[in-house]
Every structure is written in structure tokens, then in C-alpha cells.
């Protein structure tokens, strides 16, 4: 078989089970591609020895029969996941050299299912960013380019390395994490599929924490079927995460019938932002027509607190980050600044954190410190938590009125150029998450599916938002949209 790295999880699984291919062959194909893709800067820690060992074990298991779906599938793992004995530094200099003595629950589950780890993937530092430009490893690069241009584009963020690696076929799929859109925005920027499950579906144990009430891990894949297969392997109750839901995990793939007749799809009027590019508006209208043609009922809905989602997020996420990142003190792991004579423990903390954290992380930690400080806690933090209640209530009301899923754009634009936003104020960058952040605040599942291209040939995606715990139904609606859109374009190889 040729181009093994280009296979989907489903195709590879079927070929592995039939004995047409071995996991070692798949793994070697991916390792070869990774070697030639240094220009994308997607893989930042390479683990070929582990990959080959896992592939051989997977092949033995496949031979013995009865192997799980993920057995033998080569994956990339976002650097935010702690992987035993392998550098896991959340793309931050403050965790330079950190090699966990334990394995995150998600990677444990994937490896127990026989999946193969090719290496760790680039990302924004501590997952704080929308362009992968805050990484200690440097920028990850989008394999897509504008027609007739060789300008380097962002793969989005924070899961930029994951998106770039999957879009460029360096691996069959990758793990991502999503706090405000960090799976869905990069998926949309690179023409791949990414799902953030309901808060509590996937264990956060062993995933470096950013904002604990918003963080969820999920798969980034080449299509919806693969998202269903890989999500199932990542989900499940975990006693080590107190917010993990003790619910049965359905067979998501079996729910992909493509039949959405009689489903009600909501189109939220507040997502029609002022100044929205005509191409995004058109993409959204076309997606609406596709779902309608597939037999869904389309209704206009209102989510009145939408405009307050980003400001709410930029109180809550930094507040939680300031607390979570307090642990990086130069004592237990990672970087410690070299100290001058007479420096005490306070100087050690201050110098370590100034050297170890990048600019965006420092800014968010300090904003979080401010909104939690005496005198401002009520005005900012408590108020934001109240508005969050209202944002969630907006969704509850439309779901109670019979809406099964909500269709929105995934991003306000196609991928932008690396460095293009560097002169803009931080708020302009934050606006990238305008359509995705509501979903994290309300704890809902959301999926980005590529459905079209812009005039320069760059992929564009739509987002579907589902009811809590109904990822299976959401994936099925996404599957229907994917089939109708028929997006199959791939980036031309330049790297």
C-alpha cells in the first residue's frame, strides 16, 4: 500500500485487521514524513524508539485477534499531555527538561488501546494563544498557503502543531485540548476535523492545567468518522479527576448514520457579527442549506448573552490560570533561575517566573491575579461567573425549546499570516475565539468540520454545538454536514 501516512484511522484499522498492512509499516511511513517536515515545526519532541516498540506490540496484538480500533494507529500527542519519561513542557521554558514520572489518563487509555506515539506536538505556551506564536519552540506552520503566495500562515492555536501534523499527513490523528477554541479554531484553519467534548467527558488528569473549569481534551482527525473512533478511546470516567463524569461511553461510530431527518438545527442571530467577511457569511448560509437539504428543520434562535462571552472568558480563564500556574515556583520541577548572592526565596520565585514564562503567559497570570485581588474579586471575577451562568442559560433555553444542534462559523476568518497580528493589541487576537468560547463557558460539546475554501484557496470550517453528553448525535449531524460539503482538498506539499 502506498502513502500509508495519508490513511484515515478507519481505513488503517480495517487494513490492519485484514493483515494488509502492519502497524510498524504505518509507523515507519509517518516517521519518514515527520523527518521531512521540519519546516512545519509541528513535532517538537520525537519518540521513534517508543513508536517502533509500541507498533511491534500492536502488531502482535492484532495477530492474536480482538484488538481495539485504535490498536496500531500512529498518533501525535500535544505537548500539554504528560507522557511518562518523555519531555512534556506545555511549550514553556519553565518546564524545560521536565520528564513526568507518570502518564496522563488520556494517553494511558490510548496506549492501552494499542495506539502508537510518534512524538510531542507544538502548541501555544500553556495553551494560551490562537496562533501557536507564543510557543517556546517557535511557531508551528500551516501546511496550507494562499494561492500564489509563499507567506507562512498560522495553523491556529493553541493546538497548532496537532492541526499542522494531521493536515500534512505526518500522523493519522492527534490529541488536542480546548479551553476557548484551541481544538476547533486550528482544525478550521487547516481543513481537518476537531471535537471538544462535553466538560467532564474526558479526564483532565495528567494534562497540564490552564483553566480547569474550561479545559477539555479531544481528538483532531482527518474526518468525522475518525473523530468518533478516537473520541471513544479518550472518554470515560476517571477517579483521578473529580470533575470526570461517571457516564457510559457510547459507541460513537455506530451512531454515524448520516440521517438527520427531523432534527432541529438552530442558527443563532447573535453570531452574525458586524463586519463578518462575506465569505464566512456565505459558508454559513451554504452549510445551513446543506443541513436543510438533508432533512433537518432550520430555526432562527437567540443566544442573547453571546457578546459577553469573550470578556467573561478573559476574566475566568486568567483567574484560573493565575491559580494553576502558581505551582511553577522553581522548587519541584522545571526551570529555576540562577540566583545572585543574598537572594532569598522571593527573589527565586520572581526571577524564575520572569525567565520561565513568556510574555502572553505573564500577562494572563497578572490579569488573573488582578481580577482575584482584594477589592476587585466581586467586580470582576464574581460578576464574570454570574454572566457565565446567563450564557449557559441561553443554551439551556434553546435546547429546551427542541433545538438538537446549533450551526455557526468556526472562525471569523481563514488562517492568517504568522506575524500579521503581532502589531495588533491582544484583544484583536482574542477575537479569534469569538464563536468557540461560548461552548467552553457552557461546558457543551462542539465540533469543527471543514466545509469550504476562501477565494485564496484556504480551508474554512463550520462549527456544530450539541447538547451536553450527546456527542454521538452531534457527530452524526457533523457527519451529514461533512458528506454534503464533500470537502476533500489537501494542501500542496511545499515542505
Amino acid at each position: 500500500m502506498a502513502d500509508l501516512n495519508k490513511l484515515t484511522i478507519a481505513a488503517a484499522r480495517d487494513a490492519l485487521k485484514k493483515g494488509d498492512v502492519t502497524s510498524l509499516e504505518l509507523t515507519e511511513a509517518c516517521l519518514g514524513e515527520i523527518e521531512g517536515a521540519g519546516a512545519l515545526n509541528a513535532f517538537v519532541h520525537h519518540t521513534p524508539e517508543i513508536a517502533r516498540e509500541q507498533a511491534k506490540a500492536a502488531d502482535a496484538r492484532l495477530k492474536a485477534g480482538d484488538a481495539p480500533d485504535m490498536c496500531g494507529i500512529p498518533l501525535g500527542i500535544k505537548d500539554l499531555f504528560c507522557t511518562k519519561g518523555v519531555p512534556s513542557q506545555a511549550a514553556s521554558n519553565i518546564l524545560k527538561g521536565f520528564k513526568p514520572e507518570y502518564e496522563s489518563t488520556v494517553t494511558s487509555q490510548l496506549f492501552d488501546a494499542g495506539a502508537v506515539m510518534l512524538g510531542k506536538l507544538n502548541m501555544d505556551e500553556f495553551a494560551m494563544g490562537s496562533s501557536n506564536e507564543t510557543s517556546a519552540y517557535g511557531n508551528a506552520v500551516n501546511p496550507w498557503r494562499r494561492e500564489g503566495s509563499d507567506a507562512e500562515l498560522t495553523p491556529g492555536g493553541s493546538s497548532g502543531g496537532s492541526a499542522s501534523a494531521v493536515a500534512a499527513d505526518l500522523c493519522l490523528a492527534a490529541t488536542g485540548t480546548d479551553t476557548g477554541g484551541s481544538i476547533r479554531q486550528p482544525a478550521a484553519f487547516t481543513g481537518i476535523t476537531g471535537i471538544k467534548p462535553t466538560y467532564g467527558r474526558v479526564s483532565r488528569w495528567g494534562v497540564v492545567a490552564f483553566a480547569s473549569s474550561l479545559d477539555q481534551a479531544g481528538p483532531m482527525t482527518k474526518d468525522v468518522r475518525d473523530a468518533a473512533i478516537m473520541l471513544e478511546a479518550m472518554c470515560g470516567h476517571d477517579a483521578k479527576d473529580s470533575t470526570s463524569a461517571d457516564l457510559a461511553v457510547p459507541n460513537f461510530e455506530a451512531m454515524l448514520t448520516g440521517d438527520i431527518r427531523g432534527k432541529t438545527i438552530g442558527i443563532p442571530r447573535e453570531y452574525r457579527m458586524e463586519g463578518m467577511p462575506a465569505e464566512i457569511e456565505k459558508l454559513w448560509a451554504e452549510g445551513t442549506e446543506m443541513l436543510k437539504a438533508a432533512g433537518a428543520k432550520i430555526v432562527d434562535i437567540s443566544l442573547p448573552h453571546t457578546k459577553y462571552a469573550l470578556p467573561t472568558y478573559y476574566v475566568i480563564a486568567p483567574a484560573e490560570a493565575s491559580s494553576n500556574l502558581a505551582r511553577y515556583d522553581g522548587v519541584r520541577y522545571g526551570h529555576r533561575a540562577s540566583l545572585a548572592a543574598g537572594d532569598g526565596i522571593t527573589e527565586m520565585y520572581e526571577k524564575t517566573r520572569a525567565e520561565g514564562f513568556g510574555h502572553e503567559v505573564q500577562r494572563r497570570v497578572m490579569v488573573g491575579t488582578y481580577v482575584l485581588s482584594a477589592g476587585f474579586y466581586d467586580a470582576y471575577y464574581n460578576r464574570a461567573r454570574k454572566v457565565r451562568t446567563l450564557i449557559k442559560r441561553d443554551f439551556e433555553e434553546v435546547f429546551a425549546a427542541g433545538v438538537d444542534a446549533i450551526l455557526t462559523p468556526a472562525t471569523p476568518s481563514a488562517a492568517f499570516g504568522l506575524g500579521e497580528m503581532s502589531e495588533a493589541d491582544p484583544i484583536a487576537m482574542y477575537l479569534n475565539d469569538v464563536f468557540t468560547v461560548t461552548v467552553n463557558l457552557a461546558g457543551l460539546p462542539g465540533i469543527a468540520v471543514p466545509t469550504g475554501s476562501d477565494s485564496q484557496g484556504l480551508p474554512l470550517g463550520l462549527q456544530l454545538i450539541g447538547r451536553p453528553w450527546e456527542e454521538g448525535d452531534l457527530l452524526n449531524t457533523a457527519y451529514a454536514l461533512e458528506q454534503a460539503a464533500g470537502f476533500v482538498a489537501k494542501p500542496a506539499k511545499w515542505w
Binding site: 467532564g200 459577553y308 520541577y333 497578572m366 461567573r385
Partner: protein, 95 residues
């Protein structure tokens, strides 16, 4: 509400991040941009609204109050920048 460089210095101190005096005005300006953005929340009528504690209504699970793990001193210390005689080592804290 506008943040001056003294407030920026105070916040940096609370966050235990060293910021050079020369960088404080720029930092204060960045804070003001972000705070100006989140200021819109004051428009929202939140009268009688409960602040969200947990996004999915749930009671945190409880477990027996027993030792369930431990005896991993070497692993705990393995990544420390400075560990001696089975302890984390830090600069002198008490005179």
C-alpha cells in the same frame, strides 16, 4: 478604572513575577487594554443570578479518608532543580 504603574508593580509582586521598572508603564497599558475590554460586563444585569460554581451540575465525589498512594519519594524529587538528602532544597527562608 485605570491602572497606573504602581498598581502594575503591585500586581506583578502578587503574581511573583519580576518586572523591571522600565517595563511597568507598558505593562500598565496592556492591563488597561484588557480591563477596558472586560469592563463591558458591567452592562449586564446580574441581579439575582448565582455565580457559576460548576458547569455541569454535580456533587464532587467523596472517597474514604485513607492513604491510597505514597512511598514515591525518588519519583517526586526526580524533576527538582535542587534536591538533597530526600528533600527539595531552596534558598534560606528563615534567618
Amino acid at each position: 478604572m485605570s491602572i497606573d504603574k504602581d498598581t502594575a508593580a503591585k500586581v506583578a509582586k502578587l503574581a511573583r513575577i519580576r518586572v523591571e521598572a522600565a517595563d511597568l508603564p507598558a505593562l500598565a497599558e496592556e492591563f488597561n487594554a484588557v480591563l477596558g475590554f472586560i469592563e463591558q460586563l458591567s452592562e449586564v444585569d446580574v441581579e439575582g443570578v448565582e455565580p457559576m460554581v460548576s458547569v455541569t451540575p454535580m456533587r464532587l465525589p467523596r472517597r474514604e479518608d485513607v492513604v491510597s498512594d505514597g512511598g514515591q519519594q525518588a519519583k517526586v524529587l526526580a524533576n527538582a532543580p535542587d534536591a538533597r538528602e530526600g528533600f527539595f532544597a531552596v534558598p534560606k527562608v528563615v534567618e
